[in-house]
Symmetry: C2
């Protein structure tokens, strides 16, 4: 019975994807007034609602104003809706409690729990308060996006755009940045801003903030200046995110050094900007300045790893999530040090969290491996390109080597769309569904220890 | 102090590799009487002692009779030595006990423990009994290899070989099969036997048996006809090995269907033979009939996964080991079912085994990813080829897409050789070293649970 909410959420989300597919397939959505091919409309709707950013049509020219409005609304609904859903389910998952307590926002978002142990029933959010939670999420999303618009609008005016175009484009960029969608409003994309720190750094800030996740904002909004009050989840999410951002940027800088096809022969400041821009986009943002197909294969593999990890739990980012990676590494560290428990920031982490992290990682790796094998067989494309786009789809990143394009086989488009859906809804609801089915056993089996490694 | 034996073992094993490098670098070892290039001799020595099978010289023609003897002895010493070492350390690792108990063969190899819990001090093998253990290992290896010679020798006679040549070649094939080394005695390799079920199935049997590992033989020798007496380790190793063999064969059959460059257009019986031969070789055997560079990229990726998993713990096979994979999946299953403990074959598996499995897997994946990124950057070769050969090196499999060859950059040869060494000695000693450093903590930190997934 505990897994009904998770199943219900999956149905609602699937319905949302189909609704947007129908909307985008109508003649009114296309700039040329012709109905978009059903497969392409379906692919693009899933890419929009799952805030992925992969495209099989030219997003800047294909849609009518109505189509563009559908895209922007789809991204917001998909981003915010899943954000809320994931927050609720993430809290469910984080503890194994009764239904009432499942719907409370008190666990990792309430620092009091950190000090005092399990939250009392009275502190739980009632079912009726879900609407309030949704409002908080929607409000914070809009505030963050408004801030990005304020930062981008003057830059676009300075670039010589008409005020109305500048407003539309800055809104589009802001929404796509904060929801980690990665669609671009113009045919030129980021080319006009390829050397502009202002524009690029604002996008990076938007993407990075969006990738932290609702449980993190919730704590930061209340305790921004008091890091001692931050929960373990907040500290882990922020520290691992920053570490991956820095490590990714440095590795790209080294690997692309001297590659004239990418940024490797520009002046040093530009190399740093491009390397760190890609690092911030690889974990889910999905904006790309350069043609990724021209990067070294080594950089593509590094991007694969960053995309696989993704962002924070219950965020607009995908992947296995930074805390999942942290748990796996903390387990290895605890093993190496011979400690009984995993530890981080002076906190002990219960060992059942490791089992959940292993499940999520194994589920993700299995889907990615299976889809990659099938798409390799269907298309015969190179591994580096197929693997990249499959991880990009599963991690809802949206970066592409060029494998995902208009001419891709229809079967491959459908499989990639389902991969995005699985990646977006997958780990969180899977985890919640799993956590909900906890059973008590009345007998104990004898213990035995196999040799591993 | 507990990690000294593990460190000592690593030093001894490294010394063994260097000794064989010196032997193979001498003019006497080469057929043309010229000293082999130091880098090539080093690479080939590591490949021999680590029973890998990757080659940068033509093994069938490059060596003198003395050189071939060195190769065969190296494979036996490397295979048996590491087998013994791994057995001892594996038992160390499997339990966290005192030094005396560490050196006992009673844990997973003694079914009595399964029924009665922890073994008493009196049952432990004393330090002086290590020699006896080594003798049992060496004896069983020689018995298995002799059986393979008996099966292959008449086949080679029937093929028209001179008795002496047939004896040499059947011995060479047998040693290379059981130790999962995969070197071949003749220039033609397996081409003359490419359609011969007798020869190929004998090799498969040898490789499969060798990949099970010493702890399995030990139990089977005593309780072959009584499966109820088998330990959990034996049951897990055998069942997962058979599942992977069957699944791999079926998947290859489907993926290569119709591929004229491999076996996909031959008659059905031959397709089955080739698909299942590759499946059995991919987890560590390393014999190849077909040019693997001509397989579909999808099949190469499937092979990557099989090579990553490898064979049984404390065997001549490499990889993370089948029981490690089993533990990861059992954890996910326990999570899905809401069970408190991982369970298999009516036994409960303690949760600290999961932490060890995660450590081994993470260590392996990290090394493979890092080496692949570095070799991609050095060579600029395609991902499908580089990843394949790196996993092949780490898993001491020895299959190659052609990336590993005479003309490879020297730095890449050295890195691949170190990868083989890390893969062979790595997970087992790492695990043992980790297990040995267990500490007691006198204080307890407050517990806190981050959100994952
Ligand atoms: K995205
Ligand atoms: K091998």
């Amino acid at each position: 019975a505990g897994s009904y909410p998770a199943r219900f959420a999956i149905f609602v989300f699937a319905g949302l994807n189909l609704l947007f597919a129908v909307l985008l397939a109508t003649p009114w959505a296309a700039a040329d007034g012709q109905a978009t091919a059903p497969i392409d409309a379906f692919f693009q709707a899933v890419s929009v609602v799952c805030v992925t950013g992969l495209t099989v049509v030219d997003m800047a020219t294909h849609w009518s104003p109505f189509g563009n409005a559908v895209v922007m609304i789809g991204v917001e609904v998909g981003g915010i809706g899943v954000l809320t859903l994931a927050s609720l389910l993430g809290m469910t998952m984080a503890r194994r409690l009764g239904l009432r307590q499942r719907l409370m926002a008190a666990s990792d978002t309430n620092p009091s729990r950190v000090r005092k142990g399990v939250v009392k029933e009275g502190q739980a959010i009632r079912l009726g308060e879900v609407g309030g939670l949704l409002r908080i999420v929607a409000l914070s999303v809009l505030v963050f996006e408004a801030a990005l618009i304020v930062l981008l609008f003057p830059r676009l005016l300075l670039a010589g755009k008409e005020p109305l175009a500048a407003l539309y484009e800055s809104t589009y960029w802001s929404i796509m940045a904060f929801t980690n969608s990665g669609f671009m409003p113009t045919v030129e994309g980021l080319a006009p801003y390829a050397t502009d720190p202002w524009f690029l750094i604002v996008l990076m800030l938007g993407v990075f903030t969006g990738s932290l996740g609702f449980p993190v904002y919730f704590v930061l909004l209340r305790h921004l200046g008091r890091p001692r009050q931050w929960s373990l989840h907040v500290k882990l999410t922020i520290s691992v995110s920053i570490m991956l951002f820095l490590a990714g940027g440095l590795v790209y800088l080294v690997l692309e050094w001297g590659n004239a096809d990418s940024w490797g022969t520009r002046d040093f400041g530009q190399q740093v900007l491009h390397a760190f821009f890609l690092s911030s986009m690889a974990r889910s943002g999905g904006f790309a300045i350069d043609d990724l197909g021209l990067l070294h294969n080594s950089s593509l593999l590094v991007t694969d790893m960053l995309m696989f990890v993704g962002g924070g739990s219950a965020s607009t980012a995908g992947g296995i999530k930074v805390t999942t990676l942290a748990i796996l590494f903390l387990a290895a560290v605890a093993e190496a040090r011979g400690r009984k428990s995993m530890e981080a920031f002076d906190r002990r982490i219960p060992s059942d969290v490791l089992r959940l992290a292993v499940s999520v990682t194994l589920w993700s790796a299995t889907i990615i491996a299976t889809v990659t094998v099938v798409l390799l067989e269907i298309t015969g494309a190179p591994l580096s390109f197929v693997l990249f786009d499959v991880i990009s789809a599963f991690g809802t990143v949206g970066l592409s080597t060029g494998f995902t394009h208009q001419g891709l086989e229809d079967s491959a488009k459908v499989i990639l769309a389902l991969t995005m859906f699985a990646g977006r809804i997958g780990s969180v609801t899977l985890a919640a569904a799993l956590a909900a089915s906890q059973k008590t056993q009345l007998f104990t089996r004898p213990e035995e220890r196999p040799i591993v490694g």
